[in-house]
C-alpha cells in the first residue's frame, strides 16, 4: 500500500508543478536568457575562461577551508558557552558578540590593513619563517572568514549543545562511558544533527561572504569579473555571469547538505 503511494507521488508532483502558467513563465525566462546570450557581448569569454575557472576554484577552496576551520573552532566555542565554567563562557560569548556585531568587511580590513601595517614594525616577525606568507593577502582573508564563520556558528552550536535532551547524556553515563566518549558518541553527534539545517543556510551565507576578499587583492571569481569589467568596459555581462555562478554553487551546497541530512535517521527523543 505504502509502496504504491510512493510510486504515484513523484508523477503527481511533476504534473502539479508543470501548470500552464508556469510553462509560460519558464518560456519567458528562457527567452530572456537566450536574448541576453545573443544580444549582449560575450566574445571575451574564451579569453578569460582559464582565469575564471581558476577564480571559481579559489572561491570554492576558500569556502571549504574556512567552513571546516570555522566549524572546528565553533564546536569548542559553543561547548564553552553551553556547559563551560564562567571564565570560559564569558570570553566565548564576548567573541561571538563582537564578531556578530561588526561588519565582516570591517573585520577583514582591520586584519589586512591594521595587522598588515603593524607587523613590519617588529623585526622578529620580519625575520621569522612566516614572513613570506604574512606579506600575501590570502592568510588574512582565510583568517577573517574563519573567525566570522566561527563566531556565527559558535552561537548556533551553543543552542544545539543545550538542546540535546538531558536523558540522553544521563543514559550514556549510566552505560559507564567516559566523559570524552559521551561527548564524541552522543553529545557532539546529536548537536551536529540538530544544527545541520542551520549550518546549510550559514554555509550559503559564507559563500556569499567570500567575494569580500577581492577587496584585499585576492583573485577569486568576483575579482576576475571585476577585472573583465575594467579591461573591456562591459558593465553587465560579467556581473550576470557572476550571479549565475554563485547561484549554481548555492544549488550544489543545498543539494549536498540535503544528502547529508537524508543520511542521518531523523528520530531524536
Amino acid at each position: 500500500m505504502s509502496e504504491a503511494l510512493m510510486d504515484v507521488k513523484p508523477k503527481r508532483a511533476a504534473t502539479n508543478w508543470l501548470k500552464p502558467h508556469r510553462i509560460v513563465l519558464i518560456a519567458i525566462g528562457l527567452a530572456i536568457v537566450l536574448a541576453s546570450i545573443f544580444l549582449m557581448r560575450w566574445d571575451w569569454l574564451p579569453q578569460y575562461m582559464p582565469l575564471a575557472i581558476q577564480g571559481i576554484w579559489r572561491t570554492i577552496w576558500l569556502l571549504v577551508v574556512t567552513s571546516v576551520l570555522g566549524i572546528s573552532l565553533a564546536i569548542p566555542l559553543g561547548l564553552a558557552q553551553a556547559a563551560g565554567p564562567a571564565w570560559l563562557a564569558a570570553p566565548a560569548k564576548a567573541f561571538c558578540t563582537i564578531i556578530r556585531g561588526t561588519p565582516l568587511l570591517l573585520q577583514l580590513w582591520l586584519l589586512y590593513y591594521g595587522l598588515g601595517s603593524l607587523f613590519p614594525q617588529f623585526p622578529w616577525i620580519r625575520d621569522s619563517f612566516l614572513w613570506p606568507y604574512l606579506r600575501q593577502a590570502w592568510p588574512y582573508g582565510v583568517l577573517s572568514l574563519t573567525l566570522s564563520y566561527a563566531g556565527y556558528e559558535g552561537e548556533v552550536m551553543r543552542g544545539a549543545f543545550a538542546g540535546v535532551p538531558k536523558g540522553q547524556l544521563e543514559a550514556a553515563r549510566a552505560f559507564g562511558m567516559s566523559r570524552f566518549t559521551i561527548f564524541r558518541r552522543i553529545w557532539l553527534k546529536q548537536a551536529l544533527h540538530r544544527a545541520l539545517p542551520t549550518l546549510a543556510g550559514e554555509t550559503v551565507l559564507q559563500l556569499k561572504a567570500t567575494p569580500l576578499v577581492a577587496t584585499i587583492t585576492m583573485v577569486d571569481i568576483y575579482a576576475v569579473a571585476s577585472r573583465v569589467r575594467q579591461d573591456l568596459f562591459v558593465t553587465y555581462e560579467p556581473l550576470l555571469l557572476l550571479a549565475a555562478v554563485y547561484m549554481a554553487i548555492t544549488g550544489v551546497i543545498v543539494f549536498l547538505f540535503r544528502k547529508l541530512e537524508a543520511r542521518i535517521p531523523t528520530r531524536i527523543g
Binding site: T97, T102, L104, L105, Y113, V204, T235, A243
Partner: protein
Amino acid sequence: MGLLALEPPGRGSFLLAGFLNSVMIAVGATVVGLCLGVCGAWCKLYGGPVARDLAGVYTTIVRAVPELVLILILYFAGADLLNKALAAFGYPPTDIPGVAAGIFVLGVVQGAYSTEVLRGAILAIPQGQIEAARAYGMSPSLIMRRITLPAMLPFAIPGLANLWLIATKDTALLAIVGVNELTQVTRTAAGATKAYFTFFMAAGAIYLALTLFSGAIIGRIERWARRGMPSVAGAGR
C-alpha cells in the same frame, strides 16, 4: 587618540557623519524592505499563480546571489535606467546621491528576506482566529488591521530584528561602490593618516555599540508585542 577628536585636526567629525549616513541607509533600507516584504508575502500567500511564482523567483534569486554582486548590478542598472528615463522625458542625466542609491539597493535585498519572515509569521497565526474574524463579518482590510497584523507581530519581530541587524552591517558593503558611509569614511581617514588600526577599531566599536543598543530596544519591542501572551520559557509551543 588625538586622531579621533571631533575638532578639525582629528577626524572624529568625519566618522560621525559617516555613521549618520550608515544609520540613515539602514533605516531607509529596512522601511523599503518592509514595504517590498509585505507585497511579496501578500503575493506568495494570497496572490494568483503568476504573482506567487514571480515572488518565488525574486526571493530565490536575491537570496542565492551575494549582496556585493547584487549591489553592483542594482547600482549600475538603477543609475542607467534612471538616466535613460530622464533622457526620454528630455531632462539631463543626473548623479544619484549615494545615500538614496544605498537605500534602494539594500531595500531590494532586504525585501526578499522580509518576504520570507512575514510569510512565515502570517502562516503561524492560528487559522481559527482569521475564520472567527470572518464569521464576525469583518471586511478583509479590517481583518488585516485588527487580527492579522497584531497577531503576526510576535512571530515576525525576532526575524525582522535580525534583518535590521543585517541591514546595519550590510551598509558597510556600500563602501565598495563609494557611498560615504562609516566603513568608507574610515578607510579614507585611515589611509590619509596611516593609523589603520586605530580607525578600524574605532569604527568596529561604533558598529558594536549600534548593535548592542538595537538589541536592547528590540528586547523592549518584543516584550510589548508579546503582551498578554504566555511567556516562551517553559511553554511547550
